[in-house]
């Protein structure tokens, strides 16, 4: 199978999920009537759709660890961020009691989700069992939301101030990088289920291994590298945004007195 043929045929249409997506879009409109931000919401749905139904999902289903990793990154870092951006300022995400609103919990949620779901046992379980997989998908979005809430909460006062946010993002990036480095250079398989031949109902395995040249080791390397480099670039973009926020109002009109 050529990559092009696969891109055409690799879609998994899931009616239930699509109806759910359409309904949530209508619900968003009914709830907020926010013409400016519905684009973010649609983008979040679009990314979720790509993650769960496009060929990425087909590949992640027993074929490629790296596709699985790509799903994780999109679900943990992209979808929740877009969802938070779609919320109008009228929505408060303040957490009570304040103890649970402490940034450390958001940080642990975001970083912990990555480490937890890449422990070999959890990674294997998520690929082999449908309920665990569903739990994983849901939890990544929720935990990602908890992580991004500190940065992208709709109300400015509920966000971290820029220096704190930079440290928050930077330390999260480094911690995820460490995991990416471990996966990239690990001499043993991290998610061993991908080393077993999958059911291969699409007769895809031969194309992947010899046609595309993605061997088992390469697959794991790509997975680790996705986490190490592009994932960090997402954090980096957020750090840029924080620097912009930090320096933004320096052109304030001159007050008369110091």
């Amino acid at each position: 199978m050529t990559p092009f043929q696969f891109l055409i045929s690799g879609w998994t249409w899931n009616a239930k999920t699509m109806v759910l997506g359409a309904l949530s879009l209508i619900a968003y409109w009914l709830a907020f009537h926010d013409r400016r931000r519905i684009g973010w919401f649609a983008a979040a749905l679009g990314v979720a759709f790509l993650t769960l139904m496009s060929p990425i999902n087909t590949l992640a289903d027993g074929y490629l660890f790296s596709a699985h990793m790509l799903q994780h990154i999109l679900l943990l870092l992209v979808v929740p961020a877009l969802l938070l951006l779609s919320l109008p300022e009228s929505v408060s995400l303040a957490v009570r009691p304040r103890f649970f609103g402490h940034p450390i919990w958001g940080w642990v949620a975001g970083v912990g989700a990555m480490w937890f779901w890449h422990a070999p046992a959890m990674c294997n379980a998520a690929v082999s069992s449908a309920p665990v997989h569903a739990l994983q998908t849901g939890s990544l979005v929720v935990l990602g939301g908890l992580f991004w809430r500190q940065i992208l909460a709709p109300r400015d006062e509920e966000r971290l101030p820029p220096p704190g946010a930079v440290i928050y993002l930077f330390s999260a990036c480094v911690t995820c990088s460490v995991l990416g480095i471990i996966i990239t250079f690990s001499p043993v398989a991290v998610c061993s289920i991908y080393t077993m031949p999958p059911a291969d109902h699409l007769a895809l395995l031969a194309a992947i291994r010899s046609g595309w040249g993605i061997t088992l080791e390469k697959d794991q390397q790509i997975g680790g590298l996705l986490m190490w480099v592009p994932m960090c670039l997402i954090y980096l973009s957020a750090i840029f945004a924080q620097m912009a926020r930090w320096f933004a109002d320096s052109k304030t009109p001159i007050p008369t007195k110091i």
């Binding site: 070999p120 001499p187 790509i222 620097m243 930090w246 320096f247 320096s250 110091i258």
Partner: protein, 743 residues
């Protein structure tokens, strides 16, 4: 008066007169200005050493098939040249400059920790002496400044040179971390109240951001050096493939430090350019926000892309691809800077005095360095040019073309502030032109030499077409630079004696250091001008058209943390990097079971028990702090004693475990499990011991009644450190004892 003298003499303290004697004034100083000058003088001495080494190298390479130097001597010289120039010249001179300028720029009285500052400085001569002592101890290291394993291991370098090299770098690394913690805490806690973080002059801002890079990157090297030393002295195999080790891991560790290191010395140079170019263009910097923000991006990216130093090592296409892409990204924030400096000059009334000349040349040469840098980010091109003189030319364009030029510019710029006298402008121009001509003669042609195929790190070469004359041109250029250096040193000396009086602000600059007298008095400022923008002196001299005020929006801009706490937190960040490398090394080397002792030989139960003691001690020291706050002195002392007891039990437990292992024949060199186990737990144990010593000192002070007022930053700081030691053990315990049983 006599009474005071006798009292001082009895207690061994010095009188004011004795204190002012030059030896005491300079050797025992804790004044940031004097320490800064000491740093720079030390750097100058080593610059001459490293420069002479470079000249010898160039003499050897001047003609084909030369026999001027023995191959071994050549290897030693280029190793020492690289190591000296980076660790004993570039870093000390920039730290020294920042030491002098940074507190003045932020209106501070001194650095946050003056004694730590002196300690950090004195480690530089110590490291330099250790490194050069190797010449007397059987030969200098001859393994390159990167000391690639296995060449740097005992079977291939049996002399003591590499050991001295590693020890020296360890000492220098500790000093650099110390001084960078000091910079961070100084900027956070010693600013004059109106100097909000968003009003920081760019040089101070960049030193501040850069210091984070130092405290994160240096410990990675320190961990690698420790592993190398253990390999060499204790006969282990971290980096020796025959014993199961991996030479590639050394490269990863070295470049995970080595790439950020480039920025550690480049970012302060960016800071210098950002100060001098606006002053001599008579315009504020174009896009302060972009210059400041892109620094953060550079620092961040530099930690991510080290693998591009290893394209030729054979990481595989997959890894190469990712690092090609991410390395190219660095061109964006550096490009932003180059554009901002150019735009600052555009339409300005440019004054081409010596500092500005150096900065303009640095800007142009850095642009060339950046372009060849991008060409190295392309893996396919990199394979062709990495081990040739093309790369030598590239990094000398960064280190000399940018950094040395910026430093020379900065010394011409700030010398009046340091000495009270101007450097001779005539000699300065001579220095500049000789330096620029010499530099470009030496290194432009090396690009072509490299493309013509001349490999680097060779002591001589055959007479191939073009190689001979190109090398000769390069050597002639090197002597031009040497002449420039001599004139510069002469200028420094003669201007100190006979230079024109400078006055407070000879360049009509705008940042706070120019509000102090030249040289500044011991206490720096008697009075500060009002600060409401980034150019307080402009506002003071142009009250009719001041800069727009930089408002204060964030609490974080003005918040001043407790300095001891901030210092310990910065130190903990640094230590985290060190332990992270050791833990990752443990994971890597133990991913596959190996013959000999393994995790199954450890007793989970016994270790679990004394680990509980350590974890409990985190609770007890917290109770001690609480009791101190509530003014319950005896309870505080009691909890402190319990903490020490629990920590002691942990150490004794670990000693018993070690003894058991030794008795069953498990030594540090048994296999890689034993090596990584003893290294990781040993270094943790060392940290526990240091914590115990600190706690004992606190206990002594508490018993003597020192903390009666209910506040003690010392207890808080030591408490933080102690919690950190405990948390590290959580990870070590999980990785070493629990993980093998779970998998």
């Amino acid at each position: 008066m006599n009474e005071i003298t006798t009292v001082l003499a009895r207690t061994g303290l010095l009188t004011a007169v004795q204190r002012e004697h030059w030896k005491m004034a300079w050797l025992s100083t804790v004044d940031h200005k004097r320490i800064g000058i000491l740093y720079m003088v030390t750097a100058l001495v080593f610059f001459i050493v490293g420069g002479v080494e470079a000249l010898l190298i160039r003499l050897q390479l001047a003609v084909p098939d030369n026999t001027f130097l023995h191959p071994d001597t050549y290897n030693m010289l280029f190793t020492m040249h690289g190591t000296t120039m980076i660790f004993l010249v570039a870093m000390p001179v920039l730290f020294g400059l920042a030491n002098f300028i940074l507190p003045l720029q932020i209106g501070a009285r001194d650095m946050a920790f003056p004694r730590l500052n002196a300690f950090s400085f004195w480690l530089v001569p110590l490291g330099g002496i250790l490194l050069h002592f190797s010449f007397l101890a059987g030969g200098a290291p001859a393994v390159g400044w990167f000391a690639y394993a296995p060449l740097s291991e005992t079977p291939y370098s049996s002399q003591l040179g590499v050991d001295y090299w590693a020890l020296a770098l360890l000492v220098l690394g500790i000093g650099s971390v110390g001084t960078s913690i000091n910079f961070i805490v100084t900027v956070l806690t010693q600013r004059t109240p109106n100097m909000t973080l968003r009003r920081l002059p760019l040089f101070s801002w960049m030193m501040f951001v850069n210091s984070f890079l130092v405290i994160l990157a240096l410990p990675i090297l320190n961990a690698g050096l420790v592993m190398l030393l253990i390999d060499r002295r204790l006969d282990t195999h971290f980096f020796l493939p025959p014993g199961g080790g991996s030479a590639v891991i050394w490269q990863h560790i070295f470049w995970a430090f080595g790439h950020p290191e480039v920025y550690i010395v480049a970012v302060p140079a960016f800071g210098i350019l950002s100060e001098i170019i606006p002053v001599f263009s008579r315009k504020p910097i174009f896009g302060y926000e972009f210059v400041a923000g892109s620094t953060v991006a550079i620092v961040f990216l530099s930690l991510l892309v080290w693998a591009h130093h290893m394209f030729t090592m054979g990481l595989g296409h997959t890894v190469d691809l990712f690092f090609v892409a991410s390395s190219m990204l660095i061109a964006i924030p550096t490009g932003v800077k180059v554009l901002a400096w150019s735009a600052t000059m555009l339409g300005g009334r440019i004054r081409l005095d010596t500092p500005m000349l150096f900065c303009v040349a640095a800007l142009i040469q850095f642009l060339v360095a950046g372009l060849t840098g991008i060409s190295h980010a392309v893996a396919a091109l990199d394979w062709q040019t990495k081990n040739s003189y093309y790369l030598v030319a590239h990094f000398h364009f960064v280190f000399v073309g940018l950094i040395v030029f910026a430093v020379l510019g900065s010394l011409h710029y700030w010398y009046p502030k340091m000495s009270g006298r101007m450097l001779s402008e005539r000699l300065g121009k001579w220095t500049f032109w000789l330096m620029t001509i010499g530099f470009n003669l030496t290194f432009v042609i090396q690009h072509f030499l490299g493309l013509a195929g001349m490999p680097r790190r060779v002591y001589t070469y055959p007479n191939l077409p073009g190689w001979g004359w190109m090398n000769m041109v390069s050597t002639i250029g090197a002597f031009f630079m040497a002449a420039a250096g001599l004139i510069f040193v002469w200028n420094l000396g003669s201007s100190l004696l006979r230079g024109k009086r400078a006055g407070d602000n000879p360049w009509n600059a705008w940042t706070l250091e120019w509000a102090a007298t030249s040289p500044p008095p011991h206490e720096n400022f008697h009075e500060l001008p009002p600060i409401r923008s980034r150019r307080p002196l402009w506002d003071a001299t142009n009250p009719d058209r001041p800069d727009p005020m930089v408002g204060t929006k964030w609490q974080a801009e003005i918040v001043v943390p407790e300095k001891n706490e901030a210092g310990v937190i910065a130190f903990i960040c640094s230590e985290t990097g060190f332990f992270a490398v050791l833990i990752l090394a443990y994971l890597y080397y133990n991913a596959r079971p190996q013959p000999g002792p393994g995790a199954q030989d450890l007793s989970l139960l016994k270790t679990g028990c004394f680990s509980l003691c350590l974890f409990a001690s985190s609770f007890t020291i917290w109770r001690s702090e609480v009791n101190l706050r509530r003014g319950r002195q005896p309870a505080m002392v009691g909890w402190l004693a319990v903490t020490i007891l629990l920590g002691g039990i942990f150490i004794i437990g670990q000693a018993i475990e070690y003894r058991g292992l030794y008795q069953s024949g498990v030594g540090v060199s048994s296999n890689l499990f034993a090596t990584t186990f003893f290294t990781l737990t040993g270094f943790h144990g060392l940290h526990v011991c240091i914590g115990l010593i600190l706690l004992l000192i606190l206990l002594g002070l508490a018993c003597a009644g020192d903390f009666k007022n209910g506040r003690s930053p010392a207890l808080k700081a030591v408490g933080l450190y102690w919690h950190f030691v405990d948390i590290v053990w959580v990870f070590v315990f999980s990785v070493v004892y629990l993980l093998p049983r779970l998998l």
